[in-house]
């Protein structure tokens, strides 16, 4: 392998049932930064069936080129045909970097592709950059339960591949005037032993509570006053598509079962958004949630330690703020 032959930043545009996932647009935003530092351009790989209309959207969000395979075999996501398509594109175009969203699809597809093209893959990155001197691609990710950060490089293999945590990178503003090339890639899929059949698509997953998987957590502490106040938090969590969690004091008081508990003796969570309501922020609680990407704290006590880790701190009465916030968010979603 001559690594000098590999040029360009590629991203995988995840679409589910004809809709682009938000992370696909975030990846393009990041890819543009990387491509600028490497003096190259951004190509986006779009796989699916009857998804041609999405190519223009990808251009509007910053793709210089969109490479499309449109085939009935790609209608629902399946590991093997997506791997075949993407690998064929990598073989043909030889990109330097390929980025995926760290989603249930990206984290399935990327390792299979990395295995097939024999290259390095870094999971669940929260920061990507180019070393200004060596022009080396650096991928930074949390490790060891989020207690340590590690910067990973892929010096001898190409493309360097990474999955990127959704919600971390920032997408560009949509610009429908932007111009980009749209290329249809011809590929004949070969059914092999690694294919499987999809018998059924189940659109709604049954509601199971796993606070470690939730993207949004609305969390309550002793400041709630009593168990009934969790209806307030549940309302806000529902409006945000999240779950309710709590501090140890709440479990000890018997207001919620232990599976909801965040902290040293509970669960360690890393949601995109953590809203702490009436939680003072004991060190044992902070240990379980300070990795959250964005923390909003609402507490009556201006000196509560929770404010030391909060991105947004609101000194006030949660019993009045939470209902209004819920109402406004629901109104926002109606728009």
């Amino acid at each position: 392998m001559n690594i000098e032959d590999y040029k360009g930043v590629f991203t995988f545009a995840q679409q589910v049932h004809g809709e682009l996932s938000n992370v696909s647009l975030e990846l393009i935003g990041k890819a543009r930064d990387l491509a600028a530092d490497l003096e190259t351009n951004v190509s986006v790989v779009l796989l699916g069936h009857q998804i041609g209309h999405l190519a223009k959207e990808l251009v509007a969000f910053g793709a210089d080129r969109v490479i499309v395979i449109d085939d009935p075999v790609l209608d629902e996501y399946r590991t093997e045909p997506y791997t075949q398509g993407l690998t064929a594109i990598i073989d043909a175009y030889k990109p330097e970097i390929v980025l995926f969203g760290a989603t249930a699809i990206g984290r399935d597809l990327a390792p299979r592709v990395a295995g097939r093209v024999h290259t390095g893959l870094t999971a669940d990155c929260t920061s990507l950059d180019i070393d200004p001197e060596k022009k080396e691609f650096r991928m930074t990710r949390p490790a060891f339960g989020g207690n340590v950060m590690a910067t990973i490089i892929c010096p001898e293999f190409r493309p360097a591949m990474a999955t990127v945590r959704p919600g971390v990178m920032v997408k560009e503003l949509r610009d429908d005037q932007r111009e980009g090339e749209i290329v249809t890639f011809d590929y004949t899929f070969v059914e092999n032993q690694a294919y499987f059949q999809i018998e059924e698509v189940i659109k709604k997953v049954s509601h199971k509570i796993d606070i470690t998987e939730a993207k949004v957590l609305v969390s309550g502490g002793r400041g709630l006053g009593d168990a009934n106040c969790f209806d307030l938090l549940q309302g806000l969590a529902d409006a945000l598509g999240g779950e309710v969690s709590c501090s140890r004091a709440v479990v000890d008081a018997g207001w919620l079962p232990k599976e909801h508990q965040v902290g040293q003796t509970g669960k360690t969570v890393r949601p995109q958004l953590y809203i702490a309501c009436g939680i003072s922020g004991a060190i044992q609680h902070l240990a379980g949630m300070e990795e959250a990407d964005y923390i909003v704290a609402i507490n009556k006590d201006p000196d509560a330690p929770i404010f030391n880790v909060a991105d947004v701190g609101i000194v006030g009465d949660l019993h009045r703020i939470v209902p209004l916030l819920t109402e406004k968010i629901l109104a926002e979603k109606e728009k």
Binding site: V16, H17, N22, E76, Y77, T103, A104, I105, R107, A110, P111, R112, A114, G115, H118, T119, L121, A123, P142, F144, G145, N147, V148, T151, I153, E156, G167, V170, K171, Q193, A194, Y195, F196, I198, E199, V201, I202, K203, V205, L240, K267, T268, Q272, A287, E290, V296, F307, N308, V309, A310, V312, G313, I314, V315, G316, I321, L324, L325, K328, I329
Partner: protein, 260 residues
Amino acid sequence: MKIIVCIKQVPDTTEVRLDPKTGTLIREGVPSIMNPDDKSGLEAALRLKDEHGAHVSVISMGPPQAKEMLREALAMGADEAYLVTDRAFAASDTWATSSILAAAISKLDYDLIITGRQAIDGDTAQVGPEMAEHLGIPNVSYAEEIQLEEGSILVKRQFEDFSHMVRAKFPALITALGELNTPRYMTPGAIFDAWRNKEITEWNRADVPVEDSNIGYRGSPTRVAKSFPKTMKSPGMKIEEGVEESVEFILDKLKEKYLL
């Protein structure tokens, strides 16, 4: 039916504490456990064994102390255990680890391979799919339900807001979610048996048919350039205003961060 379950011994990262002065990890006193998703994978295999009859092997790559965990797996009901261990395998990334494990597994007969979705120390979720790629078999990730049918397996495969019901023909690999089941406890008789009477097969470098270029540090495409403690975040903005203003402030911030 022959099932192989891949299990990893991991530090219980939920027990990890940071030294408040230096911000570094305190590793002392942190217990080693069977990775939770792997344990659910093992439980799934044992349930298939209970219901349909199966031979369940467990395999792990790691240092000699991983034998403790393999004995735990035997005490839960696994029929045999393999430890793939050699200094030459140390510092392997996911490519190298999956190459080594796939090569070791290729020496065994199997219909189904089960791995956990991801290990709590690395959180990559890559070794299972990469192994399936090396072995040329399908992988069905994120299994939340498993049913056995003649010559194939029916798996409910979880995505963020939908699921697939997938049918894969044997041989196949699936990666198990923790919520698949609640793993059983070891029984006293089985514990006695596992620690006193059962053997763990140890495979070293020479026993695993894998090329030198695919193992250890030199066989790993990715390298750790540096690692550093997560810096404690600095506090953000704090406001003390009326209810309306507070709510507007939160809404603005959430929009700014694309959280709404």
